[in-house]
Symmetry: C2
Subunit: 197 residues, 2 copies
């Protein structure tokens, strides 16, 4: 159900075509809520059917058309209601920690590879989060810039700081994950003997 509100969140910055949504999504909202376009297109249709969005068909080239979605008043209301309602708590479901708990079953080499892969994934993810955070701080993030246009300048700081706050949380998590993986690599060396190569 969160996908619907993630899409609403994105579309409050400006009306967009489905294609724009699926592209922009991966560069902003997807950092907190990932979804592939095969989930996005049908959801946009359902949201229009439910009156949260309305679409206008825009010509594109000679024969082509595209559909631009805008949030309706009912959409804004639904988004606000969701914002004011308690969050669902997500249950822990992380294969990396599951595996870590049973590392005595793994080959030492595989255990190391595992932890390195995990660390590298989060390191990459962290770099992306920090880069995005920087574009929020200097307000060059395109979606943010479009969003701020609807607001009085006195509100800008407030809006931006909430977004930075969200990214700070994600960055903390990424850092914690990386540090944990590093400790794991040290532990594997200690328990299995350092690799000989």
């Amino acid at each position: 159900m969160s996908l619907r509100f993630a899409l609403l969140a994105l579309l409050t910055s400006r009306p967009m075509t489905g294609y724009d949504v699926s592209k922009q999504f991966s560069q902003s909202v997807a950092h907190v809520w990932h979804a592939p376009d095969s989930q996005i297109y049908p959801e946009l249709n359902r949201m229009e059917r439910d009156g949260l969005l309305e679409s206008t068909v825009v010509p594109w080239g000679k024969k082509g058309t595209k559909k631009e979605y805008a949030v309706t008043e009912a959409g804004v209301k639904a988004f606000r209601e969701w914002m004011d309602s308690p969050i669902e708590i997500r249950r822990q479901r992380e294969p990396a920690y599951l595996k870590a708990a049973y590392l005595e079953w793994a080959e030492p080499g595989a255990a190391r590879a595992e932890l390195e892969q995990f660390r590298d994934h989060w390191t990459e993810h962290l770099a992306m989060l920090e880069a995005t955070r920087a574009t929020l701080v200097d307000r060059s993030h395109p979606t943010l810039a479009r969003r701020l246009e609807h607001y009085d300048a006195s509100q800008w700081d407030r809006i931006v700081r909430y977004k930075i706050f969200a990214y700070d949380g994600l960055i903390d998590q990424a850092r914690a994950a990386i540090a944990w993986a590093e400790r794991g690599l040290v532990l594997v060396d200690e328990l299995e003997g350092a690799p000989v190569d």
Copy 2:
């Protein structure tokens, strides 16, 4: 697919009935991979069908019976293979961070309630993780104790330390989440004005 291996992990400690699995699960493996019993029973059946488990029917009372599942050799092999194969990377999907990024849409009271609820959930979760960690350190954790029986005493430290390592990772994440929520509450007070009550 991880559920299958989470169940295998649990059942390597000792054979268990489906009911035991679903009870024990929530006190150990569920900390890293949650699943309700409505998912567990069918999965156990499928695992037996696939030759990873074998079951023996045990009488229970006068008329009742229960099914005890034990991991087969094929099950052990599958578990080892999974342990040695690269992990799937989970995509970010956390409603709390999604909401945090759009907190300018929320009522100040709702924003505070949100963050408090998030903090309280993780505080509770942290207490549980720390309590469980302590039972691993002193080896009083029942599933761990049963597991260690299959191993030579020289291996005990190795096994226990991997489990502690996994919990340490979860504890780090919980602490980071709590600290983030606290910072969020301060931020809301700063941006929306402290609550008047």
